[in-house]
């Protein structure tokens, strides 16, 4: 039985994935550091997130080497969650639309920052509008 030997793999693959995770995390952080905004920000952050999650599950958690019965038990049920996320997105957008329409809030309002409140030098870096306002 394969399980008796356990999940034994050459060390090299762990080092490679480890480095890859570092690189992907740095890319994620760079997106924020260089203040990428809008659709590009969403696309890049989600891409690096999915890649990182995929490598952790596949290699570090050994799912690529498991038998199909276990893999489907692990990856099957969470697919239902995508439905929940999709439904809540539709519902949330509808709710916020009606709230802006009937409650008269400003959809383009920008949040305050710590430098606004603590009276620090008003750097102009805080002026980027939140992309969710669109």
């Amino acid at each position: 039985m394969s399980s008796e030997a356990g999940q034994q793999h050459p060390l090299g693959i762990y080092y490679k994935i480890w480095i890859l995770l570092f690189v992907l995390s740095s890319f994620s952080y760079a997106v924020d550091f260089f203040n990428v905004q809008g659709g590009m920000r969403w696309g890049l952050v989600l891409l690096f997130m999915v890649l990182k999650a995929g490598f952790i599950v596949a290699i570090f958690m050994h799912v690529v080497w498991e038998r199909m019965a276990l893999v489907l038990t692990i990856l099957g049920p969470p697919i239902v969650l995508l439905l929940l996320i999709g439904l809540m997105t539709i519902e949330g957008n509808y709710t916020s639309g009606t709230r802006y329409q009937y409650m008269g809030h400003d959809p383009n309002a920008v949040a305050l920052t710590p430098s606004d409140l603590h009276g620090g030098e008003h750097g102009e870096e805080g002026e980027h509008a939140e992309e969710e306002a669109h």
Binding site: Q8, H9, M49, P77, G92, A111
Partner: protein, 226 residues
């Protein structure tokens, strides 16, 4: 066993085969039972964290107040200008480093190298503990200096605080539990408890630890970056 022989008169067709299949004492997962159980626990935990994150998605979509700018709130200054999100980035790198040392511990466990397994697990637990320490620092900074509360904050949408404390708090609880779990297993490895039973337990503990890292990947993306 033939189907006709089992199904009694008057019972629903198929019900006897259903009972038969689920009581047949067959092994579906060809892994140690502890590993199958850990996976089932992790799948259920996935549902819990996804429900939290979906709640966050919905609250953030529906609030009419502007969402606070995480990049500025979590900025930290080392003497000079504040560097955006730097503490969170360091925490992310620490957790990834700990995932790497854990993967090595699992590997050395299967090679029956007790000393290396022990030390890599202790290193993993130490990284985990430092992660929790930085989280405690982050929480106290937000609570004491910025005045963020679960019911409100000076920056924008009130829900920011409740989402932040709930999601990072629940994750921090997982990390803390993981540190205790890893140290327990590490010392049992050192004492030779698994010499006869085999070292699957290190892989099972590793699965939990990688899962904690995995959850952080999503929190980092959705809560801090987007």
């Amino acid at each position: 066993m033939s189907e006709a022989a089992i199904s009694g008169a008057g019972t629903m067709p198929g019900s006897s085969t259903l009972v038969d299949d689920w009581s047949a004492d067959k092994q579906a997962y060809h892994v140690p039972w502890g590993k199958a159980m850990m996976w089932i626990f992790l799948v259920s935990d996935t549902f819990i964290f996804t429900c939290f994150l979906t709640g966050y998605l919905h609250v953030r979509l529906t609030t009419t107040e502007p969402w606070p700018l995480q990049s500025e709130i979590f900025a930290l200054s080392f003497g000079g200008d504040p560097i955006p999100l730097i503490l969170i980035a360091i925490m992310t790198f620490i957790l990834i480093t700990s995932s790497g040392t854990m993967a090595l511990a699992v590997n050395f466990g299967y090679r029956r190298d007790k000393a290396k397994t022990f030390w890599f697990m202790v290193a993993t637990a130490a990284f985990g503990a430092s992660f929790v320490g930085m989280q405690a620092f982050e929480w106290s900074k937000l609570i004491l200096e910025e005045g963020v509360r679960p019911w409100g904050n000076p920056f924008g949408a009130a829900q920011f605080g409740s989402i932040f404390f709930m999601i990072t708090g629940f994750h921090g609880l997982h990390v803390t539990a993981g540190v205790i779990y890893l140290l327990t297993v590490a010392f049992k490895v050192k004492k030779g408890h698994y010499d006869k039973k085999g070292y699957e337990i290190v892989e099972i503990a590793g699965l939990y630890w990688h899962f904690v890292d995995l959850v952080w990947v999503f929190i980092f993306a959705f809560f801090y970056l987007l």
